[in-house]
């Protein structure tokens, strides 16, 4: 149906142009375009340009209404020639009488309705109503009703609309139409300019040429109305024709303005196509922002994803704050992402939609990645907390051992010694021996207890730090340690505990071969290296422990069986 209509409009428009020019040429003295080949060419060029642009716009879903208005404008532009005495037929002549002044109202309509074909605001509708009333009703139908060609001395075809001829009424109606025609174009120009001022920069850039061209046309029309006031009808003397030529040029400019907006949109669409291609090469996480920033030519662009747990994050799960203009990317009623960008960049709603469509998979992908990273971060934090809680519990246990059992044993040995001295030198040798044995046992118990506590959690690690603890390990340990470097400062208890665990595990597994130990802080990481004759067989525990802090354990194989365990642990600075 739409196709048939479109084809009909095409055929009718072309035929209308040819026919109108033929009428104009037949009655050249009463026409605009009939006087010269140049004027005819201008008439056809302006009309066909509007027709072509209108038909093209009709093919776009969103601009179909605008297209229809433009096609109608082109028809009206040609109809101005039909109220020519040379029209030949009463019907043609009458249509010309009724609609010869309709074009300006339609141009105003196109201006106010640009780009989607709708006039939303009531003052706009009021302006248009005045326009149609003035040019179609007053100057057209009503004037035709009282215009009797015969009594006006015109060798014209019959006026089918004639009700009762009256020269006075005809002049009054015309003048009323002219006064209205001075007012409403001004109103429309003001409204369109106001719309422009309020519009976002992107929309302004697109709409300004249309408004300027349309405004120029309306200005020329109003000038002609003013010029015609004294004579009571719209004529075609020299000035009228010059104004009409200006109108043709303005309409040509209007068509070009609409085309120019398409070219711009097409450029954006090319950019979108490039976006699709670049996305097909699947950028790394975080790369989508760079691609979008490049395609949309906005280096300040920020891409943020709403997380399930609340808050916004970028693709690498770093918290993001959005400033300035923010456009949400919505899919299936859900916000997939938020774009903050330079003002007006995505003012065209369709553009935001198209970006969302083109980048849909990539956006979804990055959002899921951000989500995953966020969950991973939570998991990591929980792992670190578990390790920390374990350490804290062990420290508490050790402190209890020291303050409780050990303290009591010391007190007990003291009491034993006191009892011994009380008994004096004349003590039964057997009893003395027993007491000696008890004291030895106590000493052994204390030594065992100390070792036990040391194994559970070295107090020195918590109190004096990694360096002191590794030195103490060297003093106590079964394996000879060659310490080549130790940090001079504290690095946070979690990192230190993990580093110590790596060394003590290596010592435990190394039996009695010499280990070379170094620990140092490099770029915010504690790097612990243990080099030995053999690589410890079990490093899973180390990896768990270090991994809980987002660190890594790697094994570097040296010559022969020699190997180095290298642990990198993020630490406090």
């Amino acid at each position: 149906m739409a196709r048939i209509l479109w084809t009909a409009a095409l055929v009718a428009g072309i035929a209308l142009g040819v026919f109108s020019l033929a009428v104009a040429r037949a009655g050249a003295e009463n026409s605009f375009g009939g006087g010269s080949a140049a004027a005819g060419a201008a008439e056809l060029a302006a009309g066909y340009a509007l027709l072509g642009v209108g038909l093209a716009a009709m093919m776009h879903r969103r601009q179909a209404r605008l297209g229809a208005i433009l096609v109608a404008t082109s028809f009206a532009w040609f109809l101005v020639e039909w109220n020519n005495p040379a029209a030949g037929s009463a019907l043609i002549f009458t249509i010309g009488l009724a609609l010869y002044a309709a074009a300006p109202a339609l141009v105003a309509h196109a201006m106010l309705a640009y780009p989607d074909g709708r006039v939303g605001w009531w003052p706009g509708r009021l302006g248009l109503t005045l326009g149609y009333a003035g040019s179609v009703l007053v100057l057209g139908l009503l004037a035709a009703a009282v215009f009797d060609p015969a009594s006006e001395g015109c060798q014209c075809p019959r006026n089918l609309l004639l009700v009762g001829g009256s020269t006075g009424a005809y002049g009054s109606l015309n003048r009323a139409g002219f006064y209205m025609g001075l007012a409403w174009p001004l109103l429309v120009i003001l409204l369109a300019a106001g719309d422009l001022v309020r519009a976002t920069p992107a929309r302004r850039r697109l709409a300004a040429p249309v408004v300027i061209a349309g405004g120029a046309y309306l200005g020329l029309v109003a000038t002609d109305f003013a010029y015609s006031l004294h004579r009571g009808f719209l004529g075609n003397d020299g000035l009228d024709r010059r104004l009409w030529l200006g109108e043709a040029a303005a309409l040509g400019a209007l068509s070009l303005a609409v085309i120019w907006a398409w070219v711009r949109a097409r450029r954006t669409r090319f950019a979108l196509a490039r976006l699709v291609i670049e996305l097909a090469e699947s950028p790394p996480p975080g790369g989508l922002r760079d691609v979008l920033a490049g395609v949309l030519r906005d280096p300040s662009l920020v891409l943020a994803y709403p997380l399930a747990g609340g808050g916004l994050a970028d693709a690498l799960c770093r918290p993001v704050e959005l400033n300035g203009e923010v456009t949400p990317v919505v899919r299936g009623g859900q916000q997939v992402a938020l774009l903050s960008h330079r003002p007006g960049l995505l003012a065209e709603p369709a553009l935001a939609e198209e970006v969302a469509a083109a980048a849909r998979l990539a956006l979804e992908n990055e959002r899921l990645q951000a989500e995953t990273r966020s969950q991973l971060a939570d998991l990591r934090a929980s792992r670190a907390r578990i390790v920390q809680a374990g350490d804290a519990e062990r420290r508490r246990l050790v402190r209890d051992l020291h303050d409780g059992a050990q303290q009591r044993l010391v007190t007990l040995s003291l009491a034993l010694r006191l009892a011994r001295t009380r008994l004096g030198p004349g003590i039964d040798p057997a009893l003395a021996e027993r007491l000696d044995e008890a004291e030895d046992e106590l000493r052994a118990a204390l030594a065992d207890l100390r070792e036990l506590a040391q194994g559970i959690f070295p107090v020195i690690l918590a109190e004096e730090g990694l360096s002191a603890a590794v030195e103490a390990l060297a003093e106590a340990g079964p394996a000879p340690l060659e310490i080549t470097a130790l940090p001079g400062e504290r690095l946070g208890s979690s990192a230190e505990a993990a580093g110590y665990f790596v060394v003590s595990e290596a010592v435990r597994q190394a039996a009695s071969s010499t280990l070379k130990v170094s620990a140092a802080r490099r770029d915010g990481r504690l790097v612990v290296e243990v080099e030995g004759d053999s690589v410890p067989a079990e490093i899973t525990d180390m990896q768990d422990r270090v991994g809980a802090l987002d660190g890594s354990v790697t094994v570097l194989h040296g010559p022969g069986a020699r190997g180095t365990i290298r642990a990198e642990i993020p630490c406090e600075s």
């Binding site: 020291h402 004291e439 109190e463 130790l486």
Partner: protein
Amino acid sequence: VIADDEVLLRDGLDRLLTEAGFDVVGKAGTAGELHREVELASPDVAIIDIKMPPTHTDEGLVAAKELRVSHPGVGVLVLSHYLASHYAMRLLEEHPGGAGYLLKERVSGVGVLVDALTRVHEGECVVDPTIVSRLLRRARPASPLGHLTGREREVLALMAEGRSNKGICERLHLSSKTVEGHVRSIFTKLGVGESADDHRRVLAVLNYLRSAPQQL
């Protein structure tokens, strides 16, 4: 003055020392009380437990170091649960004379305790023999220590415990000439500069045994 927050132990130590012929002139349960008692009684030596309120970590050690500065004439003997030489070094590194570090269970060994108190009072420094023997025994990569004779190791251990040449003579029943010879030989073999000052000598020996790396 005895400073220990464990009343039973403090009282037991009091009785033991009294019976051994010492005058216990004050007792304290916290670092604050310790300072007050030392101020009031001006004792020869203060015995201080390393663990004191509020955190029960190293308040005793800190208090001992403060006493070394505020009352240089008062010897301090720190009793500790910890075998690591790190703590002993913390106590001795600034003012080695008149300070001692003993393991807590020594309180029942009257001989060691009396010896340590006497030496601290006389301005020597005292390091627990267990810590020293642990340092000496410690497994280590090949080092000049292996070149020492048995006697030289004994002398080295006694030096590390903080004893003067005279003390070493008495312990090993050797003439002072012989001991001086051993000491010279040890320093030569270890490649450590000999120090005339006994306290510096202790630190040098301990540092050598701990073989602390250059701290980065």
